[in-house]
Amino acid sequence: MDAGALNFIDLSTGNVAFLLFVGFVGGMVSGFIGSGGAFVLTPAMMSMGVPGIVAVASNICHKFPKALVGAIRRHKFGHVDLKVGLVLGVSAELGMLYGANVQQGIKARLGDAGSNLYVSVAFVVVLGIVGSWVMIDAWNLYRRGASAHDEEVTRLARWVHQVRWLGPRFYSEGARAHIPWLITVPIGLATGMLAATIAVGGFVGVPAMHYVLGLPSMMASATELVIAFVMGLGGTIKFGWSGYVDLRLAMIILAGSLFGIQLGAIGTTYVRPYMVKVVMGTIMMTVLVSRAFIVPVYLSELGWIGALDVDTARLLRQVSHWIMVAALVSGAAIVLGALLSGMRRHASEGQVA
């Protein structure tokens, strides 16, 4: 409880405008794919001089009410599986606490460079595997011209629905099947661990709910908002207890992101399921490239490869940062484009009818 030593920065008009914009774009992507935005918001705040832990805490504080609004909105569209969301949310909370301990252990042993390297490698490995899977699936659905009803339940999900020897199960309305707790809880733990590591647990949670639990992709992205709410509330209590939440920053981001998240949620009602996967896959692969650029810098700081000169290291950091910004902006552009064309198509269909 010694947040007194930390600076809560003075806010300029430029800073406020910047946070509103990043919040809006991040919110739009979150409303559409169930997560995203956090990986740009935290660095954006840090670039304004906000201490890292205050940036993380304030980001989490804006996240839980935003996720709540998005979840309620998409619940009205019939997209949310509340039971799966709450089960995963509580287990993700535990995963987040464990993930934070792992982070602290690495930081204590290898310092900031070691911690940053761990985060970046986690990004590259997880996004490489999950992102490729999502993109391939999106491409297959696109080629078949599949509609929401054509989305196939994977073989793995069918096995999960049928397996009896894994102990107690609960009924999921989204999957329209019984799911063993022993499958659900580890997914929640992994989502929470990833959230504690790279701030975007949804990159595991959403694909896992779809491919492993058998929820339709629309429901998976909406149910992720319930998980984000539970995790965000727990995280805010944890950081708030230590006095790290800068409420001004959190509420400014919230102002922008609530406009964005509603727009993203509305966007999902106009698009075919593969579009959610296209946006998610595109963002994942772009972020992967971004983090791959920064890995040599951390390896060099740890002395595990030859030293990089200052200019090269700075260039790699800047390239990495701007590719990450591009990931978010391109995701938002796809969402906006899909929403506008969907609305136009719907309007013209209405006129014909």
Binding site: C61, V69, W241, G243, R248, L254
Partner: protein, 72 residues
């Protein structure tokens, strides 16, 4: 007409909330940094802001004609 009044009313409440946040900026920072059970302050304020601002943004997009696709 009713929806415009609702939009305006929520807009005014949201504007007042944000003005208060910055008028009492020093107190807000003090309460946030206090820690312990004072965590209830940021959590409670975030809930209040999201309730009014969330409703306002929903009404805002609705008023602009940006609505979810109606299923037939």
């Amino acid at each position: 007409m009713v929806k415009w009044i609702k939009l305006l009313a929520h807009g005014v409440v949201v504007a007042v909330l944000y003005v208060l946040l910055f008028i009492y900026e020093a107190d807000v920072i003090r309460l946030c940094r206090h820690g312990g059970w004072y965590f209830l302050f940021p959590v409670g304020v975030a809930f209040v802001f999201s309730t009014f601002h969330g409703t306002f943004t929903g009404l805002f997009w609705d008023a602009l004609g940006v609505k979810p696709k109606s299923s037939k």
